[in-house]
Amino acid sequence: MTLPLIAIFGALTLLAAFLSDRIRGLFLFTLSILAVYALQPALPIRYLDFWLPTAALGLASIFWISLRGAEWHSADNLLSAAWMAAIVLILALTRFLPSAPSPLTPSMPPRLELVFAALLVVTALAALTGRVRFGWVHAVGLVALIGLLAILKSPEASLWAAKALRLANGQSAETASSFDIRWLGISYIIFRIIHTLRERQMGTLPEVSLREYVTYIFFYPALTAGPIDRLERFVKDLRAAWKPANEDWIVVVQRIGLGLFKKFVLADSLALMALNAKNAGETQSTGWAWILLYAYTLQIFLDFSGYTDIAIGMARMVGIRLPENFNAPYLRPNVTHFWNNWHMTLTMWFRAYFFNPLTRALRTRQFPIWLVIFITQFATMALIGAWHGLTANFILWGLWHGLGLFIHNRWSDATRARFGEWATTPLRQNILNVSGIVLTFHYAALGWVWFVLPTPSLAIQFFARLFGA
């Protein structure tokens, strides 16, 4: 989000803070829908930057119906659905404004009849979904969502899809690029939807209205960079009566101020000196290579956690207490603690829906414990890497951390007793702790080499530079 957009959404959220509970809910619902369009970047494929947000809303509606089954059509939900459709149509109508496209859409919306037809298709699919058994929707939905994410995260598949969409649109496929399909917040949207599908499957999902569900999936402070909240927790806040107290305003000002400072002052400044694909091959000395790497290590943390601070502060204005995503991850004494404090909501998601089930499955098959740990750590971290992008560099970054977690687990098991006997004084405990922090920080920092450099060969070349070659 840019500074002007943060200012606009911040001002609107401030307004929402003073609305009555019922009106505030409707206001947040509306604002979240509008944000999906307003925050979507403009795309070179004609009308795609309108269709992608519309498809995201459609997906959310269809999956909500599947969660609710046959009991979805209350007056409140019908009104919410009508209101969503009305907003989409109003956005489409902005193409007739003299100053079109309006700031509400990234570019000119498509023709009204096409939008109307799309809404009819979504309605038909939603109605159909409501009649299908949840087990089917759950299985097909998971495959479809993961497949969609895989296409979007894979440069080759994205390029192929971009070419297909261009041809379907009557545009030249020659200029297609994998960046043609940048779907704002889709990784978070899909993970929230999968969370609700899994919780429904496990029977732990609360009953929510369409308005609540859509507000949860597209809640605008957390749309672009998380955190990934749990529906049950989010809806509890959304339903609660809310009148901000002074301490809430202090949190709001502190978190938004801190977030803006972290992102737009510190992180953006560090970006001017941080490691990137260009300067990695140009760096002439080991010392400067480390400085570029440290700059990137701090930049990525300050950038990401800055956005999280802004999201948490903005949400607090309207009584939503979004979960923390970072808790001083670079000050942790080992890789396991690092991952318990880095992008916490993402790791909790993977722990709940992948790591734990996989661990249980392997244990029931009587695998040796070290092998269970090896498989689960590496598989989970590879998937976390792939979530950032289905490319070798992200997967290697994930495997790097999988290796770190596995080694730490084995090392810690093997040496816990010995270190426990040695670290009997506060000084010795501090030595252990500080050494752990320094080692973990550097392990995480070196991991960013895989993450930020687009090819393994460039990363290896930079590792060589870091270690004196």
Partner: protein, 366 residues
């Protein structure tokens, strides 16, 4: 939290503090540009900051002379006693467009490592990629504080048209420096010229100054990547300079023969030659002499033959009349030693030029 906390009061206090900071910053902070991490945390740059693609060149253009010079290696401590300090002044051909730092004229001069007056000569690149003698004079005047023993000033006819002297962004955005030059050297320029940017009160507030402050910070931050990579310029593929002039145009800045000396800034050139406190070698820099269509009318993109020939005659006459140390190397190099323009040289061209300049230096030893 204190029980007396009041949100409106807190917001009012915040607003007051904000306005105080924004307005107080309007008080003059003349030396802020001298605060620099260059020559302290990282090495000074071998040429003045300039560039239009910072993210790739790790360099960019700003207008704060203090900051520009503070980032330059010439600001690295005091002048050593055994150094014979030579400033090389000029346009983009001196700065070194399309040349790496070790290929510029100054670098080639340094590579020769001559001893002058019993001291080791060190040449500092103070070229800047815009072409007016007022800009050169401004930089030369500023650089006088660095105790030069000798100045080499490369110029060309394109630096002289009087009507463009204040149009250079670096000059236009340093109105107070231009005022001082006008007063000090009685230059034929008007301080009321509309090209000069004169900030009002609001321009001097934090909001008005935000770009300048950001530039100062960015200059420091790009120092890291400059130090890490040694890169201060990008080297894109470029087209060869124009050699065919099908339209046969023979105008030079709307001037017609004979070349009107009053339309040229010879007085500004003379101010530099006569008043800057160091001996100057004035060099009429090499230009490309094209052999294409209508090359009998034009030497190159910049110059019709009549104008350039008249300029050379006029400049030589002034140099002789004033006793200037003058070197005319206009036709020193073949067409093959120019890169993307009729004044930008290849590394080999710079080597040849450097040798000719070294031969022409007549230092005054104490």
């Amino acid at each position: 939290m204190p029980p007396s906390f009041s949100l409106p009061r807190a917001l009012l206090k915040g607003l007051f503090l904000y306005l105080a900071v924004v307005l107080l910053i309007a008080l003059p902070l003349p030396d802020i540009g001298k605060l620099s991490a260059y020559n302290a945390l990282f090495p000074g740059r071998p040429r003045l900051p300039f560039g239009e693609n910072p993210s790739e060149a790790y360099n960019f253009s700003l207008f704060n002379l203090d900051a520009m010079f503070a980032s330059h290696e010439i600001s690295d401590g005091t002048k050593p006693a055994d150094e014979f300090r030579v400033l090389v002044i000029g346009d983009s051909s001196v700065w070194g467009t399309l040349l790496k730092p070790d290929e510029t004229l100054s670098a080639q001069l340094n590579a020769s490592a001559p001893m002058v007056c019993g001291r080791q000569a060190r040449f500092y690149n103070l070229g800047y990629p815009t072409i007016t003698v007022t800009k050169d004079l401004m930089l030369m005047d500023y650089a006088a504080r660095f105790q030069p023993d000798q100045i080499i000033w490369l110029t060309s006819l394109e630096a002289l048209p009087l009507d463009k002297q204040l149009d250079t962004p670096l000059v236009a955005n340093n109105a107070s420096a231009v005022d001082a030059l006008i007063e000090k050297y009685a230059l034929p320029l008007s301080p009321n010229d509309a090209a000069l940017v004169r900030p009002d009160f609001w321009d001097r507030t934090l909001i008005g100054q935000r770009r300048n402050f950001a530039d100062l910070i960015r200059l420091q931050l790009y120092g890291v990547q400059w130090s890490a990579t040694g890169i201060d310029q990008i080297y894109p593929p470029y087209p060869a300079p124009q050699t065919d002039f099908a339209d046969g145009d023979d105008k030079f800045h709307d001037l017609r023969p004979p070349l009107d000396e009053a339309a040229l800034a010879y007085d500004i050139l003379a101010a530099g030659m006569n008043h800057v406190p160091a001996p100057i070698l004035l060099v009429n820099e090499p230009i490309m002499i094209s052999g294409g269509v209508n090359s009998d009318i034009r030497y190159n993109f910049f110059y019709p033959r009549w104008a350039y020939d008249a300029y050379r005659t006029q400049l030589a006459a002034r140099a002789e009349a004033n006793g200037w140390n003058y070197l005319d190397v206009w036709n020193l190099l073949p067409q093959s030693e120019f890169t993307n323009s009729a004044i930008h040289l290849t590394p080999a061209g710079e080597t040849i030029l450097a040798q000719n300049i070294l031969n022409a230096l007549q230092p005054t030893c104490p």
